[in-house]
């Protein structure tokens, strides 16, 4: 019981921390603007297509799932790829810089609780950002009938993706006391796992399979089609577990050397 209590104590404090600096408000503003602009552009393109199709009745008409919802949530993940490093970079780096890690390390809490608490604080903040996109499907439902199952799996997939992003960011932040370094590394690592599949075109079949299995976007594909596959969930959960385990190891090494 107290384990959960400790984790929540840390998570709450760090979550509030976002709002006691301009970070939260700037990120929320940037995110809303970019996502709003994207929704507007994708919707306009969709409408133009739909009108053309009505006029000429040629070929296949645009489909709400394929031409609006999937591109919207696919792009949402790209935007988060840029924003998550700014959210996670402070987690441990700031505490190391200000010597406040000593406070946490000498309090009767386990490292696992500290890591999980910090992870959850960043997660909760990204969920706040994600909540800002909820008006889009509701706006759509006023004029059309979007497939709510697809929208639900899109959100689930996005949550899995950001869970992995944040785990990478937590690890990077535990390695350094410089937030820029932590943020830059986070961005680099996530981007690498986005494009890791590119080399598979010229690789031997075994390597190609491996590369596409490691691709963080490939596992989002099914979710974006409205398919919930446990295989994908296992991938994301094990990735999160791995990066958080590495964070534990990084803290261990920090404590031995400090």
């Amino acid at each position: 019981m107290s384990r959960i209590a400790n984790t929540m104590t840390i998570a709450k404090k760090d979550f509030r921390g976002y709002f006691s600096s301009p970070v939260a408000y700037v990120l929320m503003a940037v995110f809303s603007f970019i996502m709003g602009y994207m929704f507007f552009s994708i919707l306009s393109a969709y409408l133009t297509n739909a009108i053309r199709f009505e006029q000429f009745k040629f070929g296949k008409g645009p489909n709400l799932n394929d031409h609006l919802i999937r591109p919207l949530y696919g792009n949402l993940n790209v935007v988060l790829l840029f924003l998550v490093p700014f959210i996670t970079m402070r987690l441990f780096a700031e505490e190391r810089k200000n010597n406040t890690l000593e406070l946490l390390f000498t309090a009767p809490v386990r490292w696992g609780e500290i890591i999980l608490g910090k992870y959850l604080s960043a997660f909760a903040f990204v969920l706040v950002l994600l909540a800002l996109t909820l008006p889009f499907p509701f706006a759509l439902s006023l004029a059309a009938s979007p497939d709510w199952a697809v929208i639900a799996t899109c959100y689930l997939g996005t949550i899995c993706m950001i869970g992995t992003y944040i785990a990478v960011g937590t690890w990077c932040s535990s390695l350094t006391e410089n937030q820029i370094v932590a943020g830059g590394m986070t961005f680099g690592i996530i981007l690498f796992f986005w494009i890791i599949k590119w080399a598979s075109m010229n690789a031997s079949p075994v390597v190609a399979d491996l590369l596409s299995y490691l691709s963080i976007v490939d596992h989002f594909e099914d979710f974006s089609r409205g398919v919930f596959n446990t295989k994908d969930l296992v991938f994301y959960l094990s990735a999160i577990g791995l990066w958080l385990f590495l964070t534990y190891k990084a803290l261990e090494s920090y404590s031995w050397r400090s």
């Binding site: 107290s2 209590a5 400790n6 104590t9 840390i10 404090k13 921390g17 006691s20 600096s21 200000n98 010597n99 406040t100 890690l101 000593e102 406070l103 946490l104 390390f105 000498t106 309090a107 009767p108 809490v109 386990r110 404590s255 031995w256 050397r257 400090s258």
Partner: protein, 318 residues
């Protein structure tokens, strides 16, 4: 309350703490005196479970710092060299957070925070953001953080650094008021600070214990100037009485700090005659096995030269 046995800590090849052995009794204030870089902070980091030692055992309230860190951490309040404060937080929120990390919540937390705020004289600033406070107040917030969960043991790393003389006196009075219920270890490189607050002092230099005793006894030793540190292979009792009989010897005591091999004795002479030769002869004749004989006072003097012996001038610190 605190037991340290043969504690060593290496940073790579550099030995920061070398074979430290000492105990602190309940309710005592032990001054940890030594020049900068002597190993004070390292020892404290080990005792607070912030950092594991390379070898040796350290126990706080009967719990091993390596095997049962959570039990130790529950009972220890720690003020590091730099107060570990979140600059964007309000003082009372910060203390409430620290209490929550110790599992103190709700009404109990309120009471604990109020009491810590009062004891550290933070009443006027409790609703202010820590980042906007002066260094003196931040130091007090750091101290309040260390006592908010009412720990049995307090470990304070240079608690009065950067304070003005009036604040220094206040903090010292506060620390003194904590003894009795709390066991305190306090590190400093300022000699008068030890005189003002501590019941016993441990002098450390280059990671090694130079002396551990009351300050009066140590200065007496230093004044007499004729102190020998003798290591014999057999037990101390075997030669103790014979040494006392040597003309010119004032006292012989067994050193509680001990030694790796055999036992260590502190022989104090009256300062009028050189007792070294006779002491050596007596030990050799008794067959106790003389391993080492050196003038103890010298090493102590070396340390004292490096210590800050005057208080910071009034108004000198912000």
């Amino acid at each position: 309350m605190i037991e340290v046995q043969r504690l060593s800590k290496f940073y790579g090849q550099r030995k920061a703490v070398d074979d430290l052995t000492f105990t602190v009794n309940k309710g005592e204030i032990l001054g940890f005196l030594g020049p900068n870089g002597a190993g004070k902070t390292t020892t404290m980091k080990v005792l607070t479970c912030f950092m594991p030692a390379t070898s040796g055992v350290a126990k706080v309230a009967g719990y091993d710092v390596f095997d049962q860190p959570l039990e130790v951490k529950r009972r220890v309040g720690y003020l590091p060299e730099t107060p570990p404060v979140y600059k964007e937080m309000v003082v009372s929120d910060y203390l409430t957070y620290k209490a929550a990390l110790h599992g103190i919540k709700g009404q109990k937390a309120k009471a604990a925070v109020t009491s810590a705020v009062e004891r550290c004289g933070l009443g006027a600033v409790r609703h202010r953001i820590i980042g906007n406070l002066s260094k003196g107040y931040r130091q007090r917030v750091g101290l309040a953080q260390a006592i908010v969960h009412n720990p049995e043991v307090l470990i304070l790393d240079e608690p009065t650094v950067g304070l003005d003389p009036r604040q220094i006196i206040e903090i010292r009075d506060l620390i003194k008021s904590l003894s009795g219920d709390h066991t305190v270890i306090l590190s400093t490189h300022i000699l008068p600070e030890v005189q003002a607050t501590c019941s016993r002092v441990l002098i450390i230099n280059e990671g090694k214990i130079v002396a551990i005793d009351t300050l009066d006894a140590i200065s007496a030793r230093l004044r007499q100037g004729n102190v020998l540190s003798v290591t014999v292979q057999s037990s101390a009792a075997a030669v103790l009485s014979k040494l006392k009989a040597v003309p010119g010897v004032v006292s012989v005591t067994e050193d509680s700090a001990g030694s790796n091999e055999g036992s260590r004795l502190i022989v104090t002479g009256n300062g009028e005659t050189d007792i070294r030769r006779q002491v050596a002869e007596v030990i050799v004749q008794s067959g106790a096995g003389l391993l080492e004989l050196k003038r103890e006072a010298l090493s102590l003097e070396e340390v004292f030269v490096k210590l800050t012996t005057v208080e910071p001038a009034a108004g000198g610190a912000a």
